[in-house]
């Protein structure tokens, strides 16, 4: 194992490196997403816009722990939620989409220089996470072939409502999480 590859104080690892850190944080994140993701609520007035607050974890882990960890959290986490709730692997492409959100967040923030200003960092975090969410969820377009639905249905019933719901969660929770973790990421362990 490469010296200094672990420890929150270490410089950012190569984008696609899989260190034991990547593995552990991926696993921790997936477990968190799976547990907290069991709770969701429907926005009153809409039939099918369910907000899953835990979704905010996916871009957060992508930003903080890299592309691989981000994908792992979104994908494995969502698969486990589906398994627990019972949709099995039917909507596997949605899991991939979740994973991609984490991966994109990892990519985007890998190229954003560290920001000192608190306020600005919050905004950038929110925006970056939003972009990652919008891009990642596009993968749900595969429903057109997998579930044999029309493009309109994809847009009106799958993509837009889900993007909307998750966007709310991401905007509210991801920057909050990131702000708390910022000072902690400087010190390793306890």
């Amino acid at each position: 194992m490469k010296p200094e590859s672990a420890g929150a104080t270490a410089p950012r690892e190569p984008l696609f490196a899989i260190s034991s850190r990547t593995v552990v944080f991926g696993a921790v994140g997936a477990a968190l997403y799976a547990v907290l993701g069991l709770f969701s609520f429907i926005i009153p007035g809409t039939q099918n816009v369910t907000v899953r607050p835990a979704f905010a974890l996916v871009p957060f882990f992508g930003k903080r722990f890299g592309v691989i960890a981000g994908f792992f959290v979104g994908f494995v986490g969502n698969v486990i939620i589906d398994l627990i709730q019972g949709s099995g692997l039917t909507y596997w492409n949605w899991s991939v989409a979740n994973g991609l959100v984490g991966a994109f967040a990892g990519l985007i923030f890998a190229y954003v220089p560290p920001i000192a200003g608190e306020a600005l960092r919050l905004v950038v975090t929110a925006v970056g996470s939003l972009v990652a969410t919008a891009l990642g969820l596009l993968f749900v377009v595969t429903d057109i072939w997998l579930q044999g639905i029309s493009f309109e249905t994809f847009v009106t019933l799958n993509y837009v409502p889900v993007l909307l719901a998750n966007a709310i969660a991401v905007v509210v929770l991801t920057p909050a999480l990131d702000a708390i973790w910022e000072p902690l990421s400087k010190r390793t362990g306890r």
Binding site: M1, E4, G7, T9, L184, R187, T188
Partner: protein, 563 residues
């Protein structure tokens, strides 16, 4: 004789903070050595272990000076993996270091990583499980194990890698005395059978039973004492280290005055603050405690003792309705707890959980302190005022501009005190503390308890602990929970004399307990250990048991060790 670990004038500076955390320190470990490392919180004990097992510099970015040899070879060139063949590490909290879903998987983890053949791995699993006496657990899920069992499994997982020396970081912090004894017994056995061990621990007295060959006392990163045990007992700073009662007697001369017992509130009435009537408590299908009849007074200081998983936390959680009695009833101030709202309970009991980090979520201490009171609907002026008061009460006001610090960046001890401050901020009349002093050094503990008990407005304190002496010293009533029942409920002095308690209930008689039995037959209440020690006639004094030839050896090494 080969040296397993050789540390020569080593120093460590963490790059993240730029602060020197250790050094210069020297340490030599040969087969058959059991080295005890102690010292106040933050003195560098864990850092020393990280230096030995390779986490420094491989996982923590730190600047290392001096020289470290592992298995006779310079450590600099050795990866963590290579070192793990010589040094096995048992981290402080078993919860965080278990990686397997089942016990078997956990023990197999190390050997699997070494790429050993399956047959060999199976053989090792059988061997270490047998050694650590956990064969009956092999198929259990690690999630279901008690703290003590987990610690044992983690140790077995380390042994399975066949290390030559094990380094153990605060093994007793979260264990009941019996479980701690089992673990240390295994460590001792490992040493006797040709291994070696370095044990970091605050609870010095417990470790002394296992006759360490050398003591290294660190303070602020540097070695204050290094050498044989009896020498250490002669010079160890009283009040900073938990010393055997015998030693207190021997050093009666330099005992500091005992801290004045905190003033107690006068009883408002004789209605018990918290009363259980034939209550039975549990989770899901499982009943943890049954037939509990107990009345805790409004001005009492009650300590709850008992083994891991006995139901101590469960018992007190019922007070704030985190679980509801499935039979019988729980009364608060004479009224069924069910009739109380969460908020009204929050102002009656200030409940502090086992793990301080659990509740901290705000970006600043100020907002954290405001959360509870705001739920009570107080205005900002009052909140600000209360915050200031409780910070002072818990000695946190000394920390400069603490109100704007992120709570989780405080030291572990400070976070603990902050959680108490959070509870106090809601002006509770009774403080409930779940293992408030686990893993903290004696001075911090004394300070902490002193202030927790003395805070104005708090009439009574109920606290859970594994530290028998803490219970005897600070409580005026001790409740022992075991096997789903309350097995003892008495004043400290009486409890100390109740022989049967100390055989079971995961408790073990400490030297203080034995002393009370010996010297205070029939006394009503217990004086502070210092006063007790001072009061004893000098003829009971003794010289520490001679431990001749290992002594010379260690003394010699102690010297050339500390170049």
């Amino acid at each position: 004789m080969t040296t397993l670990i050789e540390v020569r004038d080593a120093g460590v500076r963490y790059l993240s903070t730029g602060r020197a955390a250790l050094g210069p320190v020297s340490l030599t470990v040969r087969p058959g050595d059991l080295t005890l490392v102690s010292g106040p919180s933050g003195c560098g004990k864990s850092t020393l272990l990280r230096l030995v097992n390779g986490l420094i510099p491989h996982s923590y970015r730190a600047e290392v000076t001096g020289e470290v040899l592992i298995g006779g070879r310079p450590a600099a060139g050795q990866s963590i993996r290579e070192r793990s063949a010589v040094v096995g590490t048992l981290l402080q909290d078993p919860r965080t270091q278990i990686v397997g879903t089942t016990v078997t998987a956990e023990i197999a983890f190390g050997p699997e990583n070494l790429g050993l053949p399956r047959a060999e791995i199976r053989r090792r699993i059988g061997e270490v499980a047998d050694r650590a006496g956990i064969t009956h657990l092999l198929d259990r899920a690690t999630a279901e194990l008690s703290g003590g069992e987990l610690q044992m499994v983690a140790f077995a997982g380390v042994l399975a890698m066949r290390p030559k020396v094990v380094v153990v970081d605060e093994p007793l912090a979260n264990l009941d005395p019996a479980a701690g004894a089992r673990l240390m017994g295994e460590v001792r056995r490992f040493v006797r059978e040709g291994g070696a061990a370095v044990v970091v621990e605050h609870r010095v007295e417990e470790i002394l039973e296992y006759s360490p060959t050398e003591v290294l006392y660190l303070d602020d990163g540097a070695a204050r004492y290094q050498g044989p045990v009896d020498g250490f007992l002669r010079v160890a700073p009283i009040g900073h280290v938990k010393l055997p009662f015998r030693t207190l007697v021997d050093r009666a001369a330099d005992l500091p005055p005992a801290p004045a017992p905190p003033p107690r509130a006068e009883a408002p009435g004789d209605v018990p603050r918290l009363e259980y009537r034939g209550a039975s408590l549990g989770y899901g299908a499982r009943t943890v405690l049954s037939g509990v009849d107990l009345a805790l007074g409004a001005t009492e200081r009650v300590a709850v003792l008992g083994p891991n998983g006995a139901g101590k936390s469960t018992l007190l959680r019922a007070a704030v309705q985190l679980i509801t009695a499935r039979a019988g009833e729980v009364l608060v101030d004479g009224a069924p707890v069910a009739e109380r709202t969460v908020l009204s309970l929050a102002t009656t009991f200030g409940y502090v959980f086992q793990n301080p980090g659990q509740a901290l979520f705000s970006p600043t201490v100020r907002q954290e302190l405001a959360f509870g009171p705001r739920n009570l609907g107080w205005d900002d002026a009052r909140i600000a005022e209360e915050s200031a008061t409780v910070l002072k009460a818990m000695l946190l006001d000394r920390e400069k501009d603490i109100l704007d610090r992120p709570p989780r960046t405080l030291s572990f001890g400070q976070q603990r005190r902050l959680t108490v401050a959070l509870a106090l901020a809601m002006r509770p009349r009774t403080l409930v503390l779940d293992e408030p002093t686990a893993g903290q050094d004696l001075r911090t503990t004394t300070e902490f308890m002193g202030h927790a008990l003395a805070t104005g407005g708090v009439e009574s304190v109920y606290f859970i602990t594994h530290d028998v002496d803490l219970a005897l010293t600070y409580a005026d009533r001790v409740v022992v929970v075991d096997g789903g029942r309350v097995v003892a409920d008495a004043a400290p002095a009486a409890l100390a004399r109740a022989a049967d308690v100390w055989s079971g209930a995961g408790l073990r008689a400490t030297s203080l307990v034995r002393a009370v039995r010996e010297h205070l037959p029939g006394a009503e209440d217990l004086p502070h250990p210092f006063d007790l020690a001072r009061g004893l006639p000098s003829l009971t004094r003794s010289t520490p048991p001679p431990r001749k030839e290992p002594l010379h050896e260690t003394r010699k090494r102690g010297r050339d060790g500390a170049a």
